[in-house]
Each structure stands twice: as structure tokens, then as C-alpha cells.
Assembly symmetry: C3
Homo-oligomer: 350 residues x 3
């Protein structure tokens, strides 16, 4: 898809300076953009690049003063960054809307129900009694189990697997390779030291507007549901165990893990590679720093914790700082011991 400066100016309500017929087909940072690309200048630090860039079109702020001649066509708008971001979103929507139809070979069980304007790529598998909403997009290699429901406008990228009976809401995006609804890790120890599997009969419910990264794993509940509530954002390689609940608009960074039956509140932020023990409750608005290991429930909303085991942030920082000075503290204690011994010896001899 190509767009001229004139077309873009219309979309973002801007004024063209230069050749309005110049066209672009992709986007680039101002310091890297090539001919045929659209860029923007918002941060004054990058102004020098404006005079050097090879971008065919650059969106700039209304009030941007030019100190040198510019080779690119310019489009002036109120807020260059906001206009650029809005264009990106519109572009993605446009590209996305063009993607419809059912490619072959695909496998769709005769009892599956398909919505309108959907995209089903080649090598997609849809199981029995699955219900796929309108405008849903299933990329190559997606596997939808029996009785799964996927609501409108949801996008499952290549190789996402959804086990039987799971439910996925509207406007959900799940990135490639993620597994929804694998068995929870439940085994009962037997007397001989071996383990007997506890059947995992529940499912996973993913509510509206959730986004999940690539190669993450969200296990089905033992009974009942593992639930990812509305608007939560989960990054790549995240582990969500059975019967966990993740609150609304909670954000979890890559490689973090939440153990079984833990309830994470709303608007919580979990840092990368952090871990949360099972059967805990994490209060709304809490922040769990990267690589922390949370071993107790967090009851106070908006708490900030860090470390393994995690505790209150500023106390943890003080303890970390003290820990760095430990070898020095040890020397100070040794010195004190010498002096006190000396004082004691003098006392005895005096």
C-alpha cells in the first residue's frame, strides 16, 4: 500500500510543505529512514536528523522552525508524535481488515460455527463445536480444541494452541506459539514415591481486550477456571498456573510466573522474571519488581516489593546497600573487638 503526502495530510489534518505527490509505503525512525518511508520529528534532540534524513515524508510540529533546507516533504500538525501514532494504528487496522477468507488446506470440524469476515489461514485446525466470532483472525498453524469459543475481533497468531473448552473474549490478541489451557501441574504423591495425576477438568477464560505475548503458557484449572481478566497485558514466555486469576489491566513482563491458585489484583505490575508462590493474594495496584520472588500475600494496595523473598521496596534497597558494605562492617567489628580486648586487658592489669 502506498500513500501520498496529500492523502496522509488529509488523514491527520496537516499542511503539506513540498511535493504533495511524493508517496511512502512504510515507516522509519528519522535517523534511519530511507526513501519511500514516512517518519516524524517530535523530540528536539533529534532535530539535526531532519536535515539529513532520507525519509520521503516527515511529520513535524506546527511550530517547528527550520534552520536548514529539508529534502523531505513535510507535513505540519499540532502534535507530530500523536499524529504519527494515530497513522500507525490506522495503517495496522487497514492491513488487518484486508485479511479475510479461508485458505486451504485447513481443517474445520463440521460442527464448528464460524462468524463473518473471518480469516482462517492454511494449516489451521478447528475442533468440534468450536464457535469462532466475527472478524476473528487465525494465523497459520493455530489449533482450536473442541468446544472452544472465540469472540469477535480476536487475533491468534501463528501456532497458538487452545485446548478444549477454553473461552476467549473480544479484541484479544495472542502471539505466536502461546499455549492456552494445557493441564495444570497437579500430581498426588503415592506411598511408593511415585505420583498419580490429578485430572485437570477446568478451563481457561480470557476476557476482552487482553493481549498475551509469544510462547507463553496458561494452564487450565483443576476444576473451575483460570481467568485472565479484562484488559490485562502479558508478555512473552510467561507461566500462569492452574486456577490463577489475573486482575483487570494488570501488566506482567516477560518470563514471570504465577503459581497455582494465586489471585493477582487489578492494575498490578509484575516485573520480568519475577515469581509468585501459589495460593497468595496480591492487592490492587501493587508493583512487584523484576526477578522478585513473592512468598507472602500482599495485602496493602499499591505496595512495592522487591528481592527474593520479596519485601517492601525501600527497606529492601537499604538492606541491599548495607549488604554491599558488609565486608567493611566486618572489619569495623574486628577492629572494635581488638580495642575492647585492649581496654579489658588494661582494666585487669591496672
Amino acid at each position: 500500500m502506498q500513500f501520498t503526502a496529500a492523502q496522509i495530510a488529509l488523514l491527520i489534518n496537516g499542511q503539506v510543505e513540498g511535493d504533495a505527490t511524493v508517496a511512502v509505503s512504510s515507516f522509519g525512525k528519522i535517523e534511519e529512514a530511507k526513501a519511500g518511508q514516512l517518519s516524524f520529528l517530535a523530540n528536539p534532540k533529534y532535530e539535526d536528523f531532519l536535515y539529513q534524513t532520507q525519509a520521503s515524508i516527515v511529520i513535524i510540529n506546527q511550530n517547528q522552525v527550520l534552520k536548514q533546507p529539508v529534502h523531505s516533504t513535510l507535513i505540519r500538525v499540532e502534535d507530530a508524535y500523536a499524529a504519527f501514532a494515530a497513522l500507525l494504528s490506522k495503517y495496522q487496522q487497514l492491513v488487518s481488515e484486508q485479511l479475510t477468507g479461508i485458505e486451504q488446506p485447513s481443517y474445520i470440524a463440521p460442527t464448528a460455527q464460524l462468524g463473518e469476515n473471518i480469516y482462517i489461514a492454511a494449516f489451521v485446525y478447528i475442533g468440534k463445536h468450536a464457535k469462532i466470532g466475527n472478524k476473528v483472525k487465525l494465523f497459520p498453524g493455530v489449533v482450536i480444541g473442541d468446544n472452544v469459543t472465540i469472540d469477535d475481533n480476536t487475533i491468534l497468531h501463528a501456532g497458538v494452541k487452545v485446548y478444549n473448552n477454553c473461552q476467549i473474549g473480544k479484541n484479544v490478541t495472542i502471539h505466536a506459539g502461546t499455549v492456552i489451557g494445557g493441564d495444570g501441574f497437579g500430581f498426588a504423591p503415592l506411598n511408593d514415591g511415585s505420583y498419580k495425576k490429578v485430572p485437570q477438568m477446568g478451563n481457561v477464560i480470557i476476557e476482552d481486550n487482553v493481549e498475551i505475548g509469544s510462547n507463553a503458557t496458561i494452564d487450565r484449572a483443576t476444576i473451575g477456571s483460570t481467568i485472565i481478566h479484562c484488559g490485562a497485558k502479558l508478555d512473552n514466555l510467561i507461566q500462569i498456573a492452574h486456577n490463577v486469576e489475573i486482575g483487570q489491566h494488570t501488566v506482567i513482563a516477560a518470563q514471570a510466573g504465577v503459581s497455582g491458585s494465586t489471585k493477582v489484583g487489578n492494575h498490578v505490575m509484575v516485573g520480568g522474571q519475577a515469581g509468585i508462590v501459589g495460593h497468595l493474594t496480591i492487592a490492587d495496584g501493587s508493583k512487584i519488581n523484576a526477578q522478585s520472588g513473592v512468598s507472602k500475600s500482599i495485602k496493602q494496595p499499591n505496595s512495592i516489593v522487591t528481592g527474593t523473598p520479596a519485601f517492601e521496596y525501600t527497606a529492601a534497597l537499604r538492606s541491599q546497600a548495607a549488604s554491599r558494605k558488609l565486608p567493611i562492617l566486618e572489619k569495623r567489628v574486628m577492629e572494635l573487638e581488638k580495642l575492647v580486648q585492649q581496654l579489658l586487658a588494661e582494666r585487669v592489669t591496672s
Copy 2:
């Protein structure tokens, strides 16, 4: 599949109270169950839910006294939890046994050998000279390399990939997206600072009754075999490096990793996000706590270790507790220094 209260009572040797013709088709927790679901009451804490539940059928203990009228059909048995768990297992077996046949399109090399009563889903790939045992189930998108053997009753969920020459035993379950037999991470440094790949010619052997979670990775040996011994249970997103051995009935929680050539003993428990350095030996029955980093072999059976680097559990707890009080300890030392200086000064002046 639907079952009536009468049918279920027969299966679990129970007595029906209420309408024996009521039928259920799924399972639910007593606090969440809906009409058409089967539930159970075992924990007295949940008794109140018995009088409110919408479950069509509830399994209860023989001696359960009813304080209010109950809307559900009841089935009384000796041990409600055990009966419910047994039902779940029977149900899963029933569902599983119904799944047979070869869906199309699938790709099966002409030299592959297939057992009886197997299930091969659409988009499954089976390489040359592979041997698939009886009652094996391969879900959509499973990839079986050349010369792979998979023994009876084993289940590979959607998108599991098994590289050439690997061997998988009986009654093994591997969840979606897991990779068995990728190359070990072996590179020899060259003089110019680049690396030369060390060919990874070995394989992976997974013994009987092993279960592995979703999106885990188990690398092939450089030469010889990486071995997961009988009955081991591995959770999601686990990394097992080349030439590692995991002992019988050892349990490893999600996102943990074991580095190359390490031998983990039998009946070991490894917590989530823990890591074990390469070329170590971990004694039988050891417990490695979550997020620990094990940097030395554990020689004493039944050891418990924690922390990074991991050391003996109670000592680690004591050190952690002391670490929390470090800023206070520092103040105490400062106070001592003042007092000792005062004493020294007095001595000099006296």
C-alpha cells in the same frame, strides 16, 4: 456425554437421594457449579454452598448431616473427594479412548510404522522409519522426526516437536509446543573470538510415565543421550540441557532450568524458576527451593537448599533474616565505635 445420577451412583457405589434421572455433562466446584454440572462436598468449610449450589448432582460423604433442604440430587459415598476424583479419571479415560483414526491432511512417511487404535490429527508429520506404538495420540501439528520411536499409550499434544532419533516410552504425556531433541548449546571458541558449532549427535530418551508441560525444551545429547527417567514430572517452560539426566519420580516446577551434563537424582523436587549449573550431581530426595541457583553438587540425600548461590535451607533462612536487620546492625556498630572511642579517650586523658 451425559450421565444420570443413577448411572453415576452405580459407577462409584453410592446411594441416590432425590431425582435419580437428573443428568449432568460436566464438572464444577460447589461454589460455582451450574445446572447440568456434577459437584462434590468434602471440606466442611464449604457446607453452606451445599444449600445454595445450582449443581444438578452433588456427591457427599455418607455421614453428611443436612441442616437445610438441598435442591440438587445427592449421591452419598464413603469418601466424597476420592469418589469424585475417581469419576474424573474414568471420564478422561472414556473421552480419550473415543479418540481414534487418522485425520486428513496428515503426512506419514511410507517407511513409518503405525500401531493399532492410534489417533493422528490433521497436520501431523511423521518422518521416515518412525515407529508409533498402540493407542498413541498425536494432536494437530505434532512433528515426529526420522527414526523416532513412541511407545504405547503416549499422548503428544498440539504442536509438540520431536527431533530425529529420539525415543519416548509408554504412558508419556507431553503438552503443547514442547520441543524434544533440539541441539544442545555447544560451541567451541575460535581464536578470532567467533564460535564453531560442536555437532550434537546424541538423542533424548524419555522413559515410561513421564509427564512434561507446555513449551518446555529438552535438548539432545552431544553424544549419547539426555535421559528423563521413569515417572518424572516436568512443568511448563522448563529447560533441560544436553546430556542431563533427570531421576525417577523427580518433580520440576515451571521455568526451572538444568544445565549441561548435570545428573539430578530420584525423588528430587525442584522449585519454579530455579537453576542448576552444569556438570553437577544432585542427591536423591533433595529439595531445591524456587528461584534458587545451585552452583555446587548436593551430595547429602534429602538436602534442602535455597538462595543464589543455593545453600542449606535453615542456614539460608537465618542469613536472610539477619540480612533484613543489617541497617540496624550497622547502627549498633556505629554506636559501639563511639562508645569505645570515648572509653579510649578517657583512658588516654586519665
Copy 3:
């Protein structure tokens, strides 16, 4: 494929002792090898196995003295280990070169361009305008997005997914299940506590001679490119966030993660499960130990850091050692306090 001792001796310029017509079809460690396998003896510690091994052929050093009769056919060479490693490499190349052709069913967009002598397995998906170089191998279930370029001799193992517009160089190997080019984790907080997605319009560039393990995730840039430079080696389950750069010949062990916009230098070594915070710079030649959490840029080349937050290695070791002795230090301080109080009391009363 079978090779006789005579054929192998020719390949590695060795001399046969014993039956030169004996043939082997696979490789084994000398302590485990079976009939029909080729092995080697380089380390004198393993010499006893030479007299017991069932390997059909064993490669040994020129000057190896035999203390007992040997059942295997021997091939004597200057350096047994180097000769064996060279054989493995030649064997893998031979096996690899035999793999060509396009299996069915596969999905290849009509506008895709395919090189010569390629292997495209069944269930491979190639999107619009993708360019696939010569001798490229795409294993079953690989998904190549629109406009992706893959240069000569590159191997993508089963189920690798490459999103639209990404570029992969020559001689690259990516193991099964890895995802290249998923959306970066970019969300802007809104006033109501929910998040708005920041479109991720950039791509991933993987340069020549890179190897990436299984089930790793490398996110596309917001704008511009996430870049894995020439010769870098990344292990399984690694997370590389948007706009990261990984330097030439840098090695990253399993389950490590690099957050957004961080630039990791050349010849850096990152240990397993380590994490690096976003927007940092890591100097060339640095070593980051396993499970470390790097929260500040590393400016000094060849630095070694450890711990969370990571700091200089020997200082960290000293602090760790001191930390272990903390409970003892506390007792020493308590003892000092008693003595000083005693001295103070004596002073007052004297």
C-alpha cells in the same frame, strides 16, 4: 548411511588396524557404544573402555599403546578427538545436503520467490513476497510471514514462526518453536487505568551465522529493527525485547532475558536465567553470571558482574561470603555491646 572402516580412514587420513570392511551407521561414547557404532578414545582416563567397548570402530591417537587385545577395528590418526569431530561435521553436512524438495501439502504464496536446492517440508507456510535463498531448509510447520527474506543455507527447524517483514541472514540455524518478530510489549497507560497498544511497526534482523535455540522469542522493534548481529549464539527459551541489539559473537544461555532498547556489545557472555533491564548498554567482552539482574549499564569492557542487582564479581563474592557469616557477626556485635556496657558501668562506678 553406512561407512566402512576403510572409507572412514580415507576421510580422516588414518590407518586401519583390524577388519577394514566393518561398517558403522551411527556414533557413540566409548563407554556406551554398541555394535554398528563408531567411537573414539582421546582422554587417557577412558582407556579401560577401549578394551571393553562394543563399538565396531574406534578412532585412537597415533601413539596409543595397547595393553590388552581390542575387539573393535581401530583407526589411528594424529588427533583422535579432532578427527572424530571433523567426521561428525562432515556427516551432518552430508545428511543435510540430501534433504531437498518440496513436500505436500505446503502453502506457498504465488508471489513468494524460492531459491535453488531448497527443502520445504509438509505444512510449511510461506507468505506473500517472501524470498527464500538457495539451500534453505524449512522443517514441518514453519511459518514465514509476508515480505520476509531468508538468505542462503539457513535452517529453520519445525514450527519456527517468522512474522511479516523480518530478515534472516545466511547460515543461520533457528531451532523448533522459536518466534521471530512478535509484537514488542508496548502499551501506553490511559487515565482510566487501562492501556492502549503502541503499534509495533518495526522488524527483526538476524545477521549471518547466528544460531538460536528452541522456543525462544525475539520481538520486532516499535520502529526500526531489533538486531541480532553476526555470529551471536542464543540458547533455548530466551527473551529478546523490542529494539534490542545483540552484538557479534555474543553468547546468551538459556532462559535469559534482555529488556527493550538495550544494546548488548560484542563477545559478551550472558549466563542462564540472567535478566538485563531496558535502555542499558553492555560493554564488549562483559560476562554476566547466571541468574544475575543487571540494572545499570556496564561501561567497562570485559567486566564480570553477578547478583541482583548485579555488581562487580569479586566484590559480590566477598559480600556473599560475608552475608553467610551474618548471624555470627550479629553475635559478635552483641558480645561487644555487653563488654562495652560493662566497661562503661565500671567507669561510672570507679
